[in-house]
């Protein structure tokens, strides 16, 4: 491999990390409240509200059922509107975020569902308001599970980020596509694939470790 390609790969690693963590972070900013809403408004929960629950549920399900590659293309005008461009690392953060929000929302919802109802009953009996119960009882109790879900999400975004290469996004995915696939440079292809695998594994292990450390039961 030439120095040029090695440099490209190093830049690619940084770009991939940038895309992954920025998108994961942004998707939690939107996905966490959505997940909490999905949980709290469902039947028998603290803020039961059929209309809100069904509304969010439908949007989340539609977004989740779109193949990510299609979403990338569909979002090009929106991406251009937000970032001023539809190609490059920064631009690919937009579709990555949008694509991950519904996954985050569902994962958060399922983590919160794991909290025993008895804890909510105890909190209610202490005179806590629904919002207080969500913030101070349910979310802290679900924290280890949320962390574990977070690791899975970051790993998923990393996988998606490779796809962003198809529409001109940066990162390892783009390198794998350009040099490995279009130019038949299989050494580049396999190097980038190996790097992606290692990164996913590291993120997964780190997340599991954090969750385990956090979990007190």
């Amino acid at each position: 491999m030439s120095d040029y390609i090695i440099n490209s790969i190093l830049t690619g690693i940084l770009e991939t990390l940038e895309m992954t963590f920025a998108s994961a972070f942004l998707s939690y900013i939107f996905g966490l409240p959505l997940g909490v809403l999905l949980y709290a408004t469902s039947k028998g929960r603290l803020l039961e509200n059929r209309v809100v629950n069904a509304g969010i549920g439908i949007v989340v399900n539609i977004l989740r059922s779109l193949p990510f590659l299609i979403l990338l293309v569909l979002l090009i005008p929106f991406t251009r509107f937000v970032t001023g461009s539809s190609i490059g690392t920064v631009a690919s953060i937009v579709p990555l975020t949008v694509g991950t929000i519904p996954i985050v929302a569902r994962m958060v919802e399922s983590s919160l569902c794991e909290v025993q109802p008895g804890i909510i009953e105890a909190a209610t009996s202490m005179g806590a308001s629904p919002l207080y119960i969500i913030i101070h009882f349910i979310i802290p109790e679900a924290a280890p599970s949320l962390l574990q879900g977070g690791a899975i999400n970051v790993a998923t975004v990393l996988g998606y980020s490779a796809m962003a290469g198809v529409i001109g996004g940066g990162g390892l995915g783009a390198i794998a596509l350009q040099y490995g696939y279009y130019r038949y440079q299989s050494d580049v292809l396999w190097t980038t694939v190996a790097l992606l695998v290692v990164m996913v594994m590291l993120i997964q292990e780190l997340g599991a470790l954090l969750a385990k450390k956090k979990r007190k039961i």
Partner: protein, 334 residues
């Protein structure tokens, strides 16, 4: 002494998929200040629903629940939360936050009430001392035994300085020894802090050990209510008899056999009743079971006897016991 709770014709009906289920039917009772009030019943009798109407975790569908004269149903959400600060509750499953330390758990009600950080830590420490767990303040609940977890829950319940403590099957997940310790602690809290305690249980032994009065709930209705001593020695309702009588593995030897239960309190335990009976009347009885229990601090003995088939003889024997001041009741063994 006033009443903490007054329940008037309380009904609770659950509607589920068009089906109706009446969990509580026309329950009226009052709980007096400073007492330990037991609510006992078989599982599914409605006692857990009943206790949940006392802090409005369940809304009643008919009747009124008054807490110090205030109808709970009339309270707005904010007012209800305020009232709940005075009504603490402990649970069978403890319901502690697993991701929080013991002392953080105890501080929870104070955080909700908006107590300042330093003050709530001091109160929490004090409460942990009351339950004897001051050394565990930085442990996580997962590292505690069941009895210790319930002690933490009690400390948490006391932290808000409540007027009443509701115990929902609080000892049902614990073994008999630990149950005894927790009940002793509750009794001590009742005496020292003059705290009214309401205990939901399916175990008569719990009621006998610490309750002053008891309500027996059967199939959603109030079957019987009264002083524990009276209910124990002279149960009137079928549900009460079922709970009070020792479960009897023996059948009478003949089809005409009659079983009776005699109860004598500690003051008479020194008299040899059975020997006297034989000596004075010449009639014999068959002892099927006998035990002693402590009810409200007084020792009670009870025996289940099989009487001979002859009605005349039965009457003589029963009269002998009644004249001796014992409470006699027939056991429905069928």
């Amino acid at each position: 002494m006033g009443n903490v709770y007054e329940l008037e014709n309380v009904y609770k009906t659950y509607r589920n998929d068009g089906k109706e289920f009446e969990a509580l039917k026309d329950v009226s009772l009052e709980v007096r200040e400073g007492e330990i009030f037991g609510i006992i019943g078989m599982s599914g009798a409605g006692k857990s629903t009943l206790v949940r109407t006392l802090n409005r975790l369940e809304d009643v569908t008919g009747g009124t629940v008054r807490f110090y004269g205030n109808d709970l149903a009339s309270l707005k959400p904010r007012e209800l939360r305020e009232v709940r600060h005075s009504i603490s509750m402990i649970f069978q499953g403890f319901n502690l936050l697993n991701q929080r330390t013991v002392i953080e758990n105890v501080e929870q009600p104070l955080r909700i009430a908006g107590t300042a950080r330093r003050e709530r830590r001091n109160i929490a420490r004090e409460m942990l001392k009351v339950v004897g767990l001051e050394e565990k303040e930085n442990e996580y609940p997962a590292r505690l035994s069941g009895g210790q977890k319930q002690r933490v829950a009690i400390a948490r319940a006391l932290a808000a300085d409540p007027k009443v403590l509701l115990c929902d099957e609080a000892t049902s997940a614990l073994d008999p020894k630990i149950t005894g310790e927790i009940l002793d602690l509750l009794k001590q809290i009742n005496t020292e802090r003059k705290l009214t305690i309401i205990i939901i249980t399916h175990e008569m032994s719990v009621v006998e050990k610490i309750c002053d009065r008891v309500a027996i709930i059967d199939d959603g209705t109030l079957a019987e209510i009264g002083d524990v001593r009276d209910v124990f020695s002279k149960p009137k309702s079928k549900a009460a008899k079922k709970l009070v009588f020792p479960s009897n593995p023996f059948d009478p030897s003949g089809p005409d056999g009659t079983l009776i239960r005699i109860v004598f309190d500690g003051t008479r335990a020194s008299e040899p009743f059975i020997a006297n009976l034989v000596e004075q009347t010449g009639k014999k009885v068959n002892i099927l079971s006998a035990n002693t229990r402590s009810v409200g601090g007084i020792g009670y003995g009870q025996m289940v006897l099989e009487l001979p088939g002859d009605k005349e003889e039965q009457k003589i024997i029963k009269d002998f016991f009644v004249n001796g001041g014992l409470s006699v009741s027939e056991v429905d063994y069928k």
